[in-house]
């Protein structure tokens, strides 16, 4: 429901922008250990807007929190206090930012924004109080015996503080109205709580002026807990709340401001983009259905063919354009990494610098969503397990500041994102030991290449609880990263030099929706193989090329042996073509592993729109080696083969 509420969507958009802006502001400025007045004003402005908008949308927790930050910055802006601890202040604001972000997520998913931020608000208030130089005290006052009407005397004391204190509470409360309170005061003393910009000595002095005072105890309160308790039992003091040093604007100005932009950019509803994308996909199919229509077989239609060519040209351009609209630069995701690096290095006492290369590489919007989490995981890994502590680095002749480099680049049909660190690198022995211990070592170590050993870290079950820190791998490890990447048709690989560092590379297809495929047929079933995995296809000339080793069929091509998968056998499909000489071999490759699959016939190349497997079938979960389906020109449905899956079913031993 909430998706369709334009006001809510607008709110979410605006507040997300603002919190991102604020976070970036903090991250950029905290190193300078001082906030310029422009920055202070901007922070104030942002919090003011968030306060107002959230109040209007009835998200009161966010509004109140923003208010407490706004108060803080109003004071800083107006009073320009010296000696502000900007480091702690930054932490404080980021805490608030995090809370708001979480609440925005909830709102986005249609859940209740029911987070409790009382603690953060208290912290903000306390920070402000410390800036103001305000202190909290508790005094317990006893009057002279027999002085009578102690409650009235207590009242005088309160009056003495009234002008000076920011807040006063006292117990018993109704000293004027209720004369019995005199007895209470006589027995237990008069409890006075004040928040005041005065020192202990100054308070003592004032208390000593109490007439007919017998004795008193005065305590400087560190926390405002007792104060809050007193407050809860009290209503505000006799007079109007004492003078606040400044007034906050009372007007609730909730006009949603436009975020100024440098270029001509408009924000577009993603759903509309998705619809546009779908329609273009339908158009590609419809175009194929016209141009490859069986009715045209054998006809020579020159004019028609010219027009068809023109049509194809236009639809291709339209397709490219629509894809490019969905492309967003990866910089947004990259910027999030700054925060992670900052938080983690602080927590782990490591010094880490983040380098970003290729920020303006553009990626499909859908892909960005799938890359964000894995990327964060990799960065965390680098800092947690890769980069050494500063002392250790210096001992090893390295610069004590570790460097994590994230690079994105376009390579044809894929986007490559790599995370590189100059840390301690992967230790082969440790990995092998761990793999063995967790029972995932399938081959003997001597037979494994370095790459295969490193790739062990991607296996499910590799990470155990011992290795789990707060940040990386809650016992699930890299395999979750890999799964998420593979879910969008990508792949992950890792390389490392011990002592020097490691690099993890994520490769993802440029767009999710349209790929170049080779259509094939096996029996009555159509399949499509992504062109990117096909190395070559061939017919068998001589049966001599076929070898059988332990029941595994293999084919020789130019002196090399390749395992064969008979697709009809693999899937149990009925077909007349079972003799190798009657069908076609297609050599496919993934991660430098090659196999040949045997199919009935090649139907031809086609640009296909990838549609996901229907949920119902996904839920059944028994399908092997299929990543999606597509509609062919003649209306038939073709299943898109997962080369990696197929290849992994074959035990490759050289």
């Amino acid at each position: 429901m909430s998706q369709n509420d334009p006001m809510l969507e607008s709110y979410i958009f605006e507040e997300t922008q603002l919190t991102d802006q604020l976070e970036n502001l903090i991250l950029q400025n905290e190193n300078s250990n001082n906030y310029s007045s422009e920055v202070i004003n901007e922070i104030f402005r942002i919090m003011h807007t968030i306060k107002g908008s959230s109040a209007m949308m009835l998200f009161n927790n966010i509004s109140t929190l923003a208010h407490s930050v706004e108060d803080l910055f109003y004071f800083i802006r107006e009073q320009k206090p010296k000696d502000v601890d900007f480091s702690s202040l930054s932490d404080l604001i980021l805490e608030s930012v995090d809370f708001i972000k979480v609440e925005l997520q909830k709102i986005k998913s249609g859940d209740n924004a029911d987070g409790i931020c009382d603690e953060i608000i208290e912290e903000n208030k306390n920070f402000l109080l410390k800036l103001k130089g305000e202190n909290a005290y508790k005094a317990v006052i006893f009057f002279e015996d027999d002085c009578e009407m102690e409650n009235l005397r207590a009242y005088s004391v309160v009056k003495n503080f009234d002008e000076l204190a920011n807040e006063i509470y006292y117990i018993p409360e109704d000293i004027i109205e209720d004369d019995d309170t005199g007895k209470i005061i006589k027995e237990h003393g008069f409890q006075l709580f004040v928040k005041i910009n005065k020192s202990y000595e100054e308070i003592e002095k004032i208390l000593n002026q109490t007439i007919l005072l017998k004795e008193f105890t005065l305590t400087h309160l560190d926390s405002y807990e007792e104060f809050e308790q007193a407050r809860k039992q009290n209503k505000p003091t006799l007079t109007e709340n004492p003078i606040e040093k400044f007034q906050i604007e009372k007007k609730e100005n909730v006009r949603i401001e436009n975020i100024p932009t440098a270029q001509n950019i408009i924000s577009v509803n993603v759903h509309k983009l998705d619809q546009l994308m779908d329609l273009v996909g339908e158009m590609v199919i419809a175009e194929a259905m016209v141009l490859q229509n069986p009715d045209l077989n054998g006809l020579k239609l020159d004019n028609f063919e010219n027009s068809a060519s023109q049509l194809h040209k236009v639809t291709s351009e339209l397709q490219d354009l629509v894809m490019s609209i969905r492309m967003v630069p990866i910089s947004n995701t990259f910027q999030k990494m700054h925060r992670i690096v900052r938080d983690m290095s602080k927590q782990l006492n490591k010094e880490v610098q983040l380098k970003l290369i290729g920020e303006d590489t553009e990626v499909d919007k859908n892909v960005i969503e799938h890359i964000s989490d894995p990327l964060m995981h990799l960065v965390r890994n680098s800092i947690d397990h890769g980069i050494e502590l500063p002392a250790e680095r210096e001992n090893n002749g390295k610069n004590k500041i570790g460097v994590v480099t994230i690079e994105a680049k376009n390579s044809g049909n894929d986007v490559t994102v790599s995370v590189e660190d100059d840390g301690q690198g992967l230790n082969k022995e440790k990995i092998l030991k761990k793999a063995k211990k967790n029972g995932i070592l399938k081959k003997s170590p001597e037979e494994m290449t370095d790459k295969e050993i490193y790739n062990l870290v991607f296996m499910p079950g590799f990470s155990t609880n011992e290795n789990v820190t707060e940040f990386s791998g809650r016992g699930v490890g890299m395999d979750v990263v890999v799964k998420n990447i593979e879910a969008i048709g990508g792949s992950v690989s890792i390389s490392s030099v011990e002592g020097k560092g490691s690099t993890t590379t994520i490769k993802i297809p440029l767009t999710l929706a349209i790929i170049d495929g080779m259509n094939i047929k096996v029996g009555d079933t159509y399949f499509t193989i992504p062109l990117t995995v096909i190395r070559e296809s061939f017919r068998l000339i001589e049966m001599d090329s076929i070898i059988n080793i332990n029941g595994n069929e293999m084919v020789m091509v130019r002196g090399e042996c390749y395992p064969i998968i008979r697709i009809h056998e693999f899937y149990g499909l009925d077909t007349k073509i079972t003799d190798f000489k009657d069908g076609i071999f297609i050599m496919i490759e993934k991660d430098e592993k090659y196999i040949c699959i045997f199919v009935d016939e090649l139907l031809g190349q086609q640009e296909v729109v990838v549609k996901s497997i229907p949920n119902y079938i996904k839920n059944i979960g028994t399908i092997r080696a299929i990543t999606g389906c597509t509609l062919l020109g003649d209306g038939n449905i073709s299943l898109i083969l997962d080369a990696g899956w197929l290849i992994s079913t074959v035990n490759i031993s050289n």
């Binding site: 429901m1 509420d5 229907p614 059944i620 028994t622």
Partner: protein
Amino acid sequence: MANIIANEVLEEEDTQKDNFLTFTLDSEVYGIEIKYVMEIIGMQSISKVPDLPEYVKGIINLRGKIIPVMDVRIKFNKEPKEYNDRTSTIIVEMNDIFVGLIIDSVSEVIIIPESEIVAPPEFSVNKNKYICGIGKTGEGVILLVNCNKLLNEEETNALDNAGDKLL
């Protein structure tokens, strides 16, 4: 504002609440809540998909949308029948899961008030676990199908089947 919308939706569902689309398998009449029914179509060419339980015949192309189809006879452990021109496919949707149900023939939409629905008998020789109730009408009884179970029970079944299928 949100409250108003929610109420409207509820009302809509309410007005459809007692409506069932009935269909036949052999001599038995079954009913399924109309709110899950998207449309009813004749038989279309089915593209076979490997690695699926016997009752999932494959997938069809419905105006560009790919929808899996299930032979309900097989699902209910009956003898499969050859498809003829009366055989229909009921396209149902629940929680973004679309399935086409292949059945002998479609009957009509009838209203069965809650008062006329009883629970299926506990102990029965041919216990069909997809039936969640029995509706009584003037002309006889209607076996009410639990759409949720029909569309989602696969997970438990899958674990059984998977063991068989994978080598």
